[in-house]
Amino acid sequence: MKLLQLSPSDLRHQLAGNGVWLRTGPFSLRIRSCLPRVAEGLTELYGQFEVRSAHQAFADFHVELNPPSRLRRWFRPQVNFSFDGAQPFKPLPLDQAYPMLEWGLNWCVSMHAHHYLIIHAAVVEKNGLAAILPAPPGSGKSTLTAGLVLSGWRLLSDELTLIDRRTGLLHALPRPVSLKNQSIDVIRQFNPEAFINRVSHDTSKGSVAHMRPPRDSVLRQHEPARPGWVIFPKWEAGAETRLTPRSRAETFMFLAQNAFNYSHLGADGFRVGTTLIDHAHCYDFRYSALSEAVTAFDRLAERRAV
């Protein structure tokens, strides 16, 4: 059953009670929370995802978002993220409950899923080939990702590139796309149809909101993709849209340094990473206009579609 088939009051009830079992990509979650904001965020953004009763089901990650103490419910209310009873983070203001769920889930995957090589990068796919977009914060990676998936590219992930160590294929985890500061408005203007949830202000990353993943990306979440490109986006005011080839060796080093678990995998991390690079075309990409950027990506995809 899909989450949107649950009535909002049922969802709230289950979240506050035994929890809701939810599948996102290769991972299953059990989420519990008594906070209306968490229920609201899930209703708005996870409608197309599969849910089940949490009772007697196997879940990969058991997470909870609740106020740290009763007192804190009234005085400067806060929210705590628990991973099966442990609190990996300090509590945040209640206003950030929903982004905290998303950050917490990223943490769950990157700290545990060592059957993948996990790189800190967005991934989108067209015609079976995936573009990996690694980039430091502030480079416009999420904006570009959102723009591409609103223009026919399939969302695999906006944060976590999961590379299957056995097959070298990229697995999808099409959770909501995180948008920060100006990019929230950029995307609203780019496509007024896109659903973006309420903005949480004054987080450690500034103002944060999440965009609902396209329906098609969620329906195809169990479909892996072959690595096609590694592209380093950089948004620059007034810049002309430009793709420049980049050295494979340098790109590999960057990916290794920006992987969450490269060193945990030992020699296998090197094997998986170099195999990926051998199959990918590597570019630097500068842009200022999102629509031009999308056209440039579409052209790339057409060139390799033959």
Binding site: F58, H62, H114, H264, L265, G266
Partner: protein, 365 residues
């Protein structure tokens, strides 16, 4: 009577065959209990040894594999790190002794299987602490940030100096000069531990404790440590160490005799008692009989049973009952009680309760 779900992890370790009858809900709980006890990789190892890997449902398997990946990487890192410590201490005229996990790895013991690590513990002569610390600092390890109070506390009363952390690799070494604090009730003689230590093959200058001493140290550690986040993991270490050592026919006699020599009979008594309770470790009655003198009175034992059957279980909500928090507190107080006399203990606990939480420096784990 303990419910089956509360005991699921130790039940799995006692009789691995039981997993063939697990429901999905039980697999869910097993993964969670094993993760919180730091035993995911070890459970995988146990299941593999009993040809039960196929019994793990497909959805649960990656948890065990990922933990095994991490454990393998950590063992490699431990070997590398030990070699770095050896290089750093090469100029000193005495060997150093590896304790606990790193010793199990370097001595290739079954207790290394699927084990995860936080730090590397070494034992050196007390008179050489300064030289060792200086040599390690030259090689890149530096003291972790501690409050002045903690620094003083370590240096004056503890059996180790404050943890040293490597500036680049962030690995942590605990340098000990004894296996219990100076202030503790019992004082196992470090000189005789060093005297009986055995060399690690192909690693001149590196030693591990003799078999009985290694087991006694591990037992002492469990029953003198106030916080037991990995109580069950430490018990499974002991279980593996004992099963391995028991291949030697006079092992149990040697172990109990040595426990008496080192004043560690009581710790060994408790360790064996709770090993039988949690893991069905095959311990001959003769060994328990040899420790009769170290057995506490009936009242104390009844209390200790209530405490340790709770605190040695995984620190996971599904393993707790309503007395678990009280049992954890009792174990904490008991450990401190054993580690220092009252006139030191009271001010120390007051400081920890009312001053430390308001200082900026964090105590390392």
């Amino acid at each position: 009577m303990k419910s089956r779900s509360r005991d699921l992890l130790s039940c799995t370790l006692r009789s691995p065959d039981s997993v063939t009858r697990f429901s999905m809900g039980e697999w869910d709980l097993l993964v969670r209990q094993a993760r919180s006890a730091g035993l995911l990789a070890r459970v995988r190892h146990v299941l593999a040894r009993h040809q039960l890997t196929e019994a793990i449902p497909a959805v649960a398997r990656w948890h065990f594999d990922a933990a095994a990946t991490l454990a393998a990487k950590q063992q490699l890192a431990v070997r590398w790190e030990v070699d770095k410590i050896r290089t750093a201490l090469k100029g000193l005229a005495f060997p150093f002794i590896l304790l606990k996990g790193s010793a199990y790895v370097m001595a290739n013991l079954p207790a290394a299987s699927g084990r995860l690590f936080n730090d590397i513990d070494i034992l050196v002569p007390r008179a050489q602490l300064g030289a060792v610390e200086a040599a390690l600092m030259l090689a890149g390890w530096h003291p972790t940030l501690l409050s002045d109070y903690d620094q003083r506390y370590y240096r004056r009363w503890m059996h180790e100096i404050p943890p040293l952390q490597h500036a680049v690799r962030a690995t942590v070494i605990d340098v000990h000069h004894a296996i219990l604090p100076d202030t503790a009730r019992y004082h196992p003689d470090s000189a005789t531990l060093r005297h009986r230590a055995v060399a690690v093959a192909d690693m001149p200058g590196v030693q591990v404790l003799a078999t009985e001493d290694r087991i006694l140290h591990s037992a002492t550690h469990v029953f003198h440590d106030g916080e037991l986040p990995h109580g069950l993991r430490d018990l499974t270490d002991l279980d593996l160490l004992l099963r391995d050592a028991a291949a030697n026919p006079d092992f149990w006699l040697r172990l109990t005799t040595r426990a008496n020599e080192l004043q560690l009979g009581r710790s060994l008594f408790y360790a064996l008692r709770y090993l039988r309770y949690f893991l069905d470790t095959p311990i001959p009655d003769s060994a328990m009989a040899a420790l009769e003198r170290d057995k506490p009175n009936r009242l104390t034992l009844a209390l200790m049973d209530r405490i340790f059957t709770r605190v040695l279980a995984p620190d996971h909500a599904s393993c707790a009952d309503r007395f678990t928090p009280a049992a954890r507190l009792a174990a904490f107080v008991r450990a401190h009680w054993l580690r220092m006399p009252v006139h030191l203990l009271i001010p120390h606990l007051l400081h920890k309760a009312f001053v430390s939480p308001y200082q900026r420096n964090e105590k390392p784990a």
